[in-house]
Amino acid sequence: MRWSEPMAEGEGRRSRAFAFILLATTPMVALAQASPVQAPRYTVVLDAAHGGDDTGGHSGTPSGSQSQFWAEKDTTLALSARLRSLLAARGIAVVTTRDSDTNVDRVRRDELANHANAQACISLHASLSGTGVHLFTSSLAPSQPARLQPWSTAQGPWINRSLSFAGVLNSALQHAGLNVALGRTSLPVVDSMACPAVAIELSPEGGAANGSGQSGSGRSGIDSLNDADYQARVAEAIAAAIVEWRSPASGAGASQP
């Protein structure tokens, strides 16, 4: 009897452990049987730059004539909304950093992008300077993936894939008849994104002679940036590029750099 009690206790522990393992594994097995082949969710992050009291680039005063006032935050939000609809219609999950005229902290934007585990991240900007569409990738040097990546250089391991993504965007925009320029820059919000990331800057289609001047065709840069048809064409081209980037041939399916 002196030995029987400990033996009974040991048996009780074993049976409890067995029951625990059984209970713990049953839901996993059930889940695996319910969805044997779950394709990875294809997610795109759209970051409409600026917002709220941060207007970004602007021209004129809000109290002035409506046609003469322009704020970058409005154009980026409008373009983001168009793109979101186009991508959702193509079955692509979209994460946006803002859906209204609010000021979202830069770090929060990067948190949203990095937690989404996205296959493509796009930071949308607009400017009255220059012409056409400018595509920028980070000017960080490519680096090896590390377990702990510094926040400010999280884009480093993704540089080569970001350059590939910019190439796909460039082809699609040029195919749509748009004037495209490629470049590299140090943009804090993009430098901290851990995904294939490109900053897209929309400039007047015909080209503004200066920051708020007339374009070569006599149409003002503000009118061009506010033109719904121009925005729609750019959004369609970007959506086509993202669909192209999604295809297996582009190798975008992998979520690792």
Binding site: H50, D54, G56, G57, H58, E72, H125, A126, S127, L128, S129, G130, T131, H134, F136, S139, A141, A181, G183, T185, S186, L187, P188, D191, A199, E201, S203, G207, N210, G211
Partner: protein, 232 residues
Amino acid sequence: MALAGIGRGSFAAVIPRYQTVLFIVLLAASVIMTVLLWRQLDRAHQRMLDGQNSAPTQAPLVAPAESATLMVASDADGALQPRILSLPLPSLEANPGARARAILGRLLDLYAAADSAHPVPGGAASVEQVFLLPEPAGDSSSGAAGNKNAQNGSELAVVNLSGSFAANHPSGIETETLTVLSICATLHANLPRVASVRFLVDGQQRDTLAGHADLTRTYLTSQAVPSEEVTP
């Protein structure tokens, strides 16, 4: 009790009228003196700022004219083009910082011109100072390249821009990037020992130039120079 009675009575009654008047006069004099001193302080501060602004931004004409290469940005093609100008410049050995400031001032004068291909208001006065320092060996922001430059005796240029220049700079990724890169490339073209550049605005670190281009990082001039300039 008599003392207590006086104490509880009308306090004003025991203060002579001339003392009340004197107190009011002294109070008024104090207020007036405060206002006058405050205004004098403001004027002195303004005189000091004016003195800084009136510091020569261009080299004295007695200096011999030398050729300087300006890397001029163009919004139309988003590129930098070299432009060689003859400028009277301070001696490189005696005052390299003033020389760098004069060259950058000329570059920003071009941008402030009416027919500029990269319009940015401000002109030469927008460059307040340029400091040339030995490259720090352990600069993490420039990484291995920074350490290599430190071993080669390279220099770090710290460009202090005026707040009005940053405030009036057109906003946009391309236009801001072109301004930053043209400053870096121009410094490297004329002072080859300058391997990296940092920016300040009114003596303080600033996040971005006009909402986009990062001003917190160290820019390597080798990355700013157009590729055809790098290749021998």
